[in-house]
Each structure stands twice: as structure tokens, then as C-alpha cells.
């Protein structure tokens, strides 16, 4: 089962795990990304494209599910405004054995940084607002999978 979502509401991690687990898979790897309150950050805003963001998440999900023969994959990205500690992204990948689930999880988090139409804007307590610049390292990591 592949489940992909782009949502402005909070990601309910335990509920998503329950939903994902319905099949009782051998190995499940996950990645949870959260907003960090570094340097006085008070809000992270994630802008998305109403059509392309979800479409490219779904593409990535299918590529990963095929490549690692996953039994189940959940890929949920939050968009809009969120505060430190809130979950930005949740990946749950299941396979019979551990190597495939772990690799799929790592592939997806790497590719999310470079292949999906999402843009982060940070607001700090001193009033500064800035769009996050892509990091060179992200492209290097994403390129490992080509």
C-alpha cells in the first residue's frame, strides 16, 4: 500500500504508523523531520504547488516502492505555517528485510530535498524573514542514487 499526502494540518505520527502497520510488515524504517527552533526561529512556512507537489511526491514514492520492492510506503509532507517541534515530513517504508526499508527511507529523504516543489521560509523572533537556500550537500546526497 502506497499512501502519499500533502497537508496543511498537523501530521499525527502515531496514527499514521497505525495506519501504515495494518499489514504487519517484517521491517519498517522511518524518518521524521521536525522544525528546529534554531537562532530564534519562530515559524517555518512551506510553500507548495497545488498540483505538482503531490504529483512529484507520488512519483518518488512509486520509484522507491518499485526499486526496493516495498510492502508499504507512507510519505506525508506538511505545507503552510508551522512552529518549532512540529513534524514537517514523515516517511514510513516497510519491506520483508531491513536493508530495503532503510535504503528506501534514505533515498526518499534525500530526494525530497531536491525533486519536490517545496520552498521553506523562516521567520525569526527578531523580525527577520528569509527563504532557505538549497545546500550544495543536498544535491550531492541526492545524486548518490542516480
Amino acid at each position: 500500500m502506497i499512501r502519499v499526502a500533502v497537508q496543511s494540518g498537523a501530521i499525527d505520527v502515531p496514527a499514521e504508523i497505525d495506519l501504515h502497520d495494518a499489514g504487519g510488515h517484517g521491517a519498517t524504517a522511518s524518518f521524521i523531520g521536525r522544525v528546529r527552533g534554531d537562532d530564534g526561529l519562530i515559524e517555518l512556512f512551506l510553500e507548495h504547488h497545488p498540483v505538482m507537489t503531490e504529483a512529484s511526491l507520488a512519483d518518488l514514492a512509486h520509484v522507491a516502492a518499485d526499486r526496493w520492492q516495498l510492502a508499504a510506503l507512507t510519505l506525508i509532507h506538511r505545507v503552510g505555517g508551522m512552529t518549532p517541534g512540529e513534524t514537517i515530513v514523515l516517511i514510513l517504508a516497510s519491506s520483508r528485510h531491513r536493508a530495503e526499508a532503510l535504503a528506501a527511507c534514505e533515498f526518499l529523504i534525500d530526494r525530497l530535498k531536491t525533486d519536490v516543489m517545496l520552498w521553506k521560509r523562516e521567520t525569526f523572533s527578531d523580525g527577520r524573514v528569509q527563504w532557505v537556500e538549497p545546500r550544495e550537500g543536498d544535491h550531492a546526497r541526492a545524486g548518490r542514487w542516480d
Partner: protein, 85 residues
């Protein structure tokens, strides 16, 4: 040619709108031409598209490159490199 333009992130902020309908002249054939035309059109465009290397584009939901032709396009989206995950 009537074209729907969609802007995202700081491109949207510079342009002051999330989308608009535009009618570029016939000699605007590619994504790069379109970016150049917008940069020259007004001050907002000049700010948004001052560095064409930092602009990415998608035509009707498909990623495009600077040389991609825009003939027949319904929507052209213009935006900075992505930073999700």
C-alpha cells in the same frame, strides 16, 4: 499568445502576485526568453528575475529547462530551486 504565469516563493513575493495572465510577444519562444521578457517588463520583474540562473520552470506541470519552447503552454510556473524535506 495568452499564457497563465504562476510564481512561487521569493519569485512570487517580488512579483507581488501568485499568478497572472500574460501575452508575451511572438519572439518570446523559450523559457529563457520568457524570463528575459519578464525581467525587462517592469521593476518587479527586474527584481524577481535578476539572476536567471536561480530560476527554475515548469510547463503545465512538467519540469522545463531554459531552452524549452513555450508554444502551446497553458501555465508556466517560475520559481527558485526547491528546499523541501
Amino acid at each position: 499568445m495568452a499564457l497563465r504565469l504562476a510564481y512561487f516563493a521569493w519569485v512570487r513575493e517580488h512579483m507581488g502576485v501568485a499568478e497572472e495572465d500574460a501575452a508575451p510577444p511572438a519572439e518570446v519562444a523559450t523559457v529563457a526568453d520568457l524570463i528575459g521578457w519578464l525581467a525587462a517588463r517592469d521593476e518587479r520583474g527586474g527584481q524577481a528575475f535578476a539572476e536567471p540562473d536561480r530560476i527554475r520552470a515548469a510547463i503545465d506541470g512538467m519540469m522545463a529547462v531554459p531552452g524549452t519552447k513555450i508554444a502551446g503552454a497553458g501555465e508556466v510556473a517560475l520559481f527558485p530551486p526547491v528546499t523541501g524535506g
